[in-house]
Amino acid sequence: MRAEDILVPMPSGLCCKPGGFHIDPTRPVDKALITHGHSDHARAGHGAVLATQETLDIMRLRYGDDFAGSTQTIRYGESAKLGDVTVSFHPAGHVLGSAQIKVERKGLRVVASGDYKDLPDPTCTPFELVPCDVFITEATFGLPVFRHHDAPGETAKLLRSVELFSERAHLVGAYSLGKAQRVIAMLRAAGYDKTIYLHGAMEKITAYYQERGIDLGPVELVRGTKKAELAGTITICPPSAMSDLWSRRFPDPVLAFASGWMRVRARARQRGITLPLVISDHADWDGLTSTIATTGCSEVWVTHGEEEALVHWAHMQGLKARPLAIVGYGDEEESENPAPAEIDSGADA
């Protein structure tokens, strides 16, 4: 019994032949198990989709009601039998509804972790460690320079800047699913209780988080707010909006960006960011290595990201390790462009 008899990496994603399904396929398939709602993992057009309630809801919000032929909900900790394999979903701590998927056949346990983080996030269920034989991991931040363990320190930095530059607006670039809501929740946890403004692209997902009982305090769409009223405020927007005409409605904005990429200075400078905030929804180097070590796995597969360093590290630990180089993951940022309507409404504001 080999892991390859359970899951095979294919160009279209991870395929489980005995179970007749794919995990996070990058092209339409008959049956898909989806780890979380980011568009590089959750695509429209599959025959049947099995995922958590939140992931299905998010896909519906993004793609419309007919995003899949049929859907089936599964809860954290719940198991399902597909062919002769057993699958179960476990919290990944990445975004609301995100899951790791354990696939078990004849005693061999493979965990496809999707995207995950092992740090606190007030907007989603904490990461659960799932012991396994083969651990399939991402490596978005798979270099020992990526360390983002102090997210509260970063929001404190943002609040100090808002206090100092009270006549300017602060724009915080953040991915619209997960990061935006996490930043808002963290600002609340730090005691910031003023209205937080939103770019239109954030509206639906943020409202959904609130519906699910996540307290984000007073949030409002920024559209229609007068320039002068935006002095001293915080607005959350997609990263691409900060260099759009849209940003001109703000008084002398301070450009912040909440991302693990902000750890590297050149990355922040290329984007013209003046207030980088190292806040990530992915595991950092310490998170990746400690998670791999703690699962007790003897083999690691790396789906995407900076796989070379992580594979090298795993080899040094005496683990079997291989990169899968799945094409199409890690593009969430690229899909974050605001809808054209939003750009147009910005031009005349």
């Binding site: 954290y76 460690l129 509260p152 400690s290």
Partner: protein
């Protein structure tokens, strides 16, 4: 160190001068003595640590990391200090859970975070926030700890001390420490800017600090006490102090009607560096000589050759120039003498400095600044004769009775009296005969009237988004002219000269006429019949091997938008070649330095 590290971090990203000032002032206000004083010293370049070199940092990180992981990381980050700051793994490692028997190497082991236990807790239960920060037991060093320790520490003990500090600091703190000790903060803050921020603490003018600065030393306790109203103004006991410079306004054609030529005298405006050369006697009667920039920075170290000529106690306002065989060299030549770390005898021989004097602020114990210009000028003339030094001469007056005569002299300095030095003249200065020497830029007594710039019509080829307020605007423009093959070749880059209204017009044009995108840069339509012609003004041309066109412009800016002109009618490279031949003043022995930036002084 943490607060200082956060300040450096924010300054490194912040392009706006006023915002930098705010950040520095806020830091100085909220930080205790003596930390803030050492921070001010670091920003004004008053600190230097000889022993910390890149090689030592490399050796330190090599002890802590796997070479392959370091190589991959360095390759990704691209900066040694930053890579080390991020990768540094503190020892000893805190105990970690799980993973027994994996043989984790001490260098690589994750040092934090026990992964949450597999407890199916309710989704939105309150989360633990604590424990993420300040996991270490040892307090991190303060800036004062670092500066004071380094000032006494021997070279041999340095690596171990650095390792202890790196262990105790977080990523940002380590980055700041490495920047501080290896020298050169490179955060876009001049000494002047840092002093201006300090002055704002007490609502003072930066010149007040400049005047007393030479008598001060880190951590500047007296200075802060004075700024915060807790103490007297520190006295400058420096025998050769700086006196705030008097600056001129640019004159407009319309100003002349209100001015009487009889009230003014005129001088050439030399294309060099404005300096103040001061000499005085210390308590033992020895002559102390210093050279200051017009903002009061002590630049004596860069010009030891000129310093020797300042033998008599006085304060001269004048222009620093390079003279070869009695002839003033172009600013391009002077630039090659500037910003050199070490001044070698070879450099001073090849680029001999000279002071062309145009004002005398003090002589011996006499402060002359209250006297009218005419009297100061007479004292200056007598003083220069008495000094009789070949390196210091008097800037001649330009004779004129009517504005028309002055216009003619300005249009043709060679005929107007500047002779062979005409190429180093960048216009004329007008000074009221009865005006005292006033600090700052008072309107009326002094006017500068620059030569007309050179102008070409060029075609916009590429546009890049700006920074700060301009981050949503395409505000940096690369423009070109036609070459012999009827191709456009880039000849320069400009990012100012236009109004806000023109900026938004160009921005709109760029967005609608983009043919290619390269990151923040857009290639814009530039065909014979479609494209935007920019009238570009500049101060001079020089040969450049860095530019494809072989030409670099000095101080280019957008003069006008020529919406009316089709690109085919823009200028050709030959036109620039002709201008270059005409204006060529650079010495053929010295290759012209590439670069288009204007003079800084």
């Amino acid at each position: 160190m943490n607060r200082f590290a956060e300040l450096l971090d924010r300054l490194a990203y912040e392009p706006g001068r006023n915002n930098k000032l705010r950040l520095i002032a806020d830091y100085l206000r909220k930080t205790e003595d003596p930390d803030r004083g050492y921070a001010l010293a670091a920003m004004t370049g008053a600190l230097s640590f000889k022993n910390a070199k890149a090689g030592m940092i490399r050796a330190l990180i090599a002890e802590r990391t796997d070479p392959a992981l370091f190589a991959l990381s360095y390759d990704y980050v691209g900066d040694l200090s930053e890579t080390v700051a991020l990768m540094w793994q503190p020892v000893p490692l805190p105990p970690r859970s799980g993973g027994e028997g994996l043989g984790v190497g001490g260098d690589l082991a994750p040092q934090k975070k026990v992964p949450p236990t597999p407890d199916p807790s309710p989704p939105f239960a309150s989360q633990m926030w604590g424990g993420e920060k300040n996991r270490r037991n040892d307090p991190s060093p303060t800036l004062t700890d670092v500066v004071e320790t380094l000032s006494t520490l021997g070279k041999a003990q340095l690596p171990a001390q650095m390792a202890r500090w790196l262990d105790a600091l977080d990523e940002n703190g380590r980055w700041a420490l490495l920047k501080l000790v290896t020298g050169g903060l490179r955060i876009g803050v001049s000494a002047r800017l840092a002093k201006t921020a300090a002055a704002s603490l007490g609502g003072k003018e930066p010149d007040e600090i400049e005047i007393i600065w030479p008598g001060l030393a880190p951590p500047y306790l007296e200075l802060f006490a004075w700024l915060e109203g807790r103490g007297d103004k520190p006295l400058n006991r420096d025998p050769a102090p700086f006196r705030p410079a008097m600056l001129a306004h640019a004159i407009e054609e319309t100003d002349f009607t209100a001015l009487d030529p009889a009230d003014f005298s005129a001088e050439w405006k030399w294309d060099g560096i404005r300096v103040q050369a001061v000499a005085g006697r210390d308590e033992d009667g020895h002559v102390v000589a210093r050279l200051y920039s017009r903002t009061g920075e002590d630049i004596s170290k860069s010009f030891p050759d000129l310093l020797e000529s300042l033998r008599l106690p006085a304060a001269i306002d004048g222009e620093l120039l390079i003279l070869r065989d009695g002839r003033v060299q172009s600013f391009n030549v002077l630039q090659q003498r500037l910003n050199r770390k070490t001044v070698t005898p070879k450099l001073t021989a090849e680029f001999p400095t000279h002071l062309r004097a145009y004002d005398l602020l003090a002589e011996g114990d006499d402060d002359l600044r209250e006297h009218p210009f005419e009297q100061r000028r007479a004292r200056l003339q007598a003083f220069i004769e008495k000094l009789a030094d070949p390196r210091i001469d008097l800037s001649p007056l330009v004779p004129f009775q009517t504005w028309d005569q002055l216009i003619a002299a300005r249009a043709n300095p060679a005929e107007g009296g500047a002779g062979l030095d005409a190429d180093a003249v960048e216009g004329v200065m007008l000074k009221r005969r009865d005006a005292p020497y006033l600090p700052g830029r008072p309107k009326g007594p002094w006017w500068k009237w620059k030569r007309d710039p050179m102008i070409v019509d060029a075609v916009l080829m590429y546009a890049q988004r700006g920074h700060g307020k301009r981050s949503s605007f395409y505000s940096d423009y690369t423009f070109g002219v036609w070459n012999g093959d009827d191709q456009l070749v880039p000849v320069g880059k400009a990012y100012f000269g236009f109004t806000d209204e023109e900026l938004s017009q160009i921005d709109r044009f760029v967005r609608r006429n983009t043919v290619n995108k390269f990151g923040p840069v857009r290639e814009v339509t530039h065909e014979a019949d479609t494209g935007l012609v920019l009238e570009v003004a500049f101060e001079g041309l020089q040969r450049s091997t860095r530019h494809k066109s072989g030409i670099a412009m000095r101080f280019p800016r957008i003069n006008r938008l020529r919406w009316d002109k089709p690109p085919r009618e823009a200028d050709r490279l030959e036109t620039l070649e002709k201008m270059l031949d005409k204006s060529a003043t650079s010495d053929p022995l010295v290759p012209a330095q590439a670069g288009t930036q204007g003079q800084s002084a």
